[in-house]
């Protein structure tokens, strides 16, 4: 395509598009009044731009809206499944039946954990030096992240109990990563059936989630995360996203119990492991 067919083309479009600042705009307007050729060229370029906005709008109007909404919904679902940053928790070994992609991801995760690296626990991003304010914020909203993740868990998800060997291996690994002995936790909760421990990275901190099935109230999780502030918080009950949560902090860890169970039930369970 021929370009620069008129020496003033660039100034003309800038003038038409309101891109000339003063005094450029006034100067150009004065030239237009006294230079018929320039005026004619401007008219031509102005007419050439006439239909563009409308044409672009009509193009947008033809977007397949329903299909695009589906595409977005699937993308949200997929990014949840793959455990990427949508919920800032990373799955170590999923409880649900695995897709091939998840199998590969889980195998890689287990391999990394078996090795020397704590790279995975620290996440793929380099650990950021946390400002005190950010530190407090992340301690606060780990419960929100757990609640979002736990909302994906159903009794079906927890249908299969791990073998005793697998359960012991998971608890041992989780204990090692967190620096806290969790081996006896399942026995501490009478009436609950242990369904496996998962290790996550939450903003560079190890987070362990132990899943249980309560015959009466369905899935209940007991979660423990490192808490570098070493704050001491007594057991506190709250409701988040429709879940009951009892949380507390002591000895360098924050802990919580979460489920769709009455507060009394979770408070009683907390009594078994708190303090």
């Amino acid at each position: 395509m021929a370009e620069h067919t008129h020496p003033d083309d660039e100034r003309i479009v800038a003038y038409l598009d309101g891109e000339l600042d003063e005094p450029g705009h006034s100067e150009f307007a004065a030239r237009l009044a006294s230079e018929p050729d320039l005026r004619a060229r401007l008219d031509l370029l102005e007419s050439g731009g006439a239909g563009i906005s409308a044409a672009m709008e009509s193009l947008k109007a033809q977007a397949p809206k329903a299909r695009l909404d589906d595409i977005l919904a699937q993308a949200i679902e997929q990014s949840r499944d793959s455990g990427d940053n949508v919920v800032p928790l990373r799955r170590m070994w999923p409880q649900a039946p695995l897709t091939t992609r998840q199998m590969v991801a889980a195998a890689v995760a287990l391999f990394l954990l078996g090795g020397i690296a704590n790279e995975f626990v620290r996440g793929r991003e380099a650990p950021r030096p946390a400002a005190p304010v950010a530190e407090v914020a992340s301690v606060e909203d780990w419960r929100q992240a757990v609640a979002e993740y736990w909302s994906l868990t159903t009794p079906d998800t927890l249908a299969i109990a791990p073998t005793p060997e697998r359960a012991a291996a998971e608890l041992s690994l989780a204990s090692q990563k967190l620096g806290v002995d969790l081996a006896d936790v399942p026995e501490a909760f009478p009436g609950l059936s242990f369904r496996g421990a998962q290790l996550f990275d939450f903003r560079g901190k190890a987070l362990v989630q132990m899943a249980f099935l309560d015959p009466e109230h369905g899935p209940i999780a007991y979660c423990v995360i490192e808490n570098p502030t070493r704050a001491e918080i007594p057991p506190t009950t709250e409701t988040l996203d429709g879940f009951t949560i009892v949380h507390w902090a002591s000895g360098g860890q924050s802990r919580l119990l979460i489920g769709r169970a009455p507060a009394e039930r979770l408070q009683a369970l907390a009594g078994k492991v708190a303090g």
């Binding site: 660039e10 008219d43 239909g51 906005s53 193009l59 695009l68 800032p88």
Partner: protein, 179 residues
Amino acid sequence: MSRTGNDAVKQGLALHLEALWRYGLVLSRNRDAAEDLVQATCLRALERSDQFEPGTRLDRWLFAIERSIWINELRSQRVRQGSGVVDAEIALVFDGEQAVETNIMAAQVLREIGRLAEAQRETVLLVYAEGFSYREAAEFLGVPIGTIMSRLAAIRERLSPLAESAGHATPDARRGDDG
């Protein structure tokens, strides 16, 4: 920051799907590729949502992701598959009959735009449909402002015979909205 950025992306994506699709169509001139681009952009944006800074423009951030996916991944793939140059004349008026019925002028303009080089198609979309200033477009595309201006002048010149034949008495070259 990561959680608020995350929420902003999740909630905001739905508002920009059609604009992302249009940009994808203008880049690829192919409807399937446009949908692929939207899908890949959604996934990438969700993965990287902690990098989005709330308070900045989400649409610009999404366009940048989409463009990078197009340039680094899809475009070369389509060229390898020999599909990079098909459809050039018809692609932007994929639903030709309907478009012609509703607006002959729009259909003709789209056909002409569809024949332009990729860099020109992109420039016209960003400035005249998405409301980018020259400076913003130049920064986004990584070219001097003068290049933006000469591209727009060339496009306007090329489209001017259409306006004459359509007998447009009141030329209207205003920008698209900022949406």
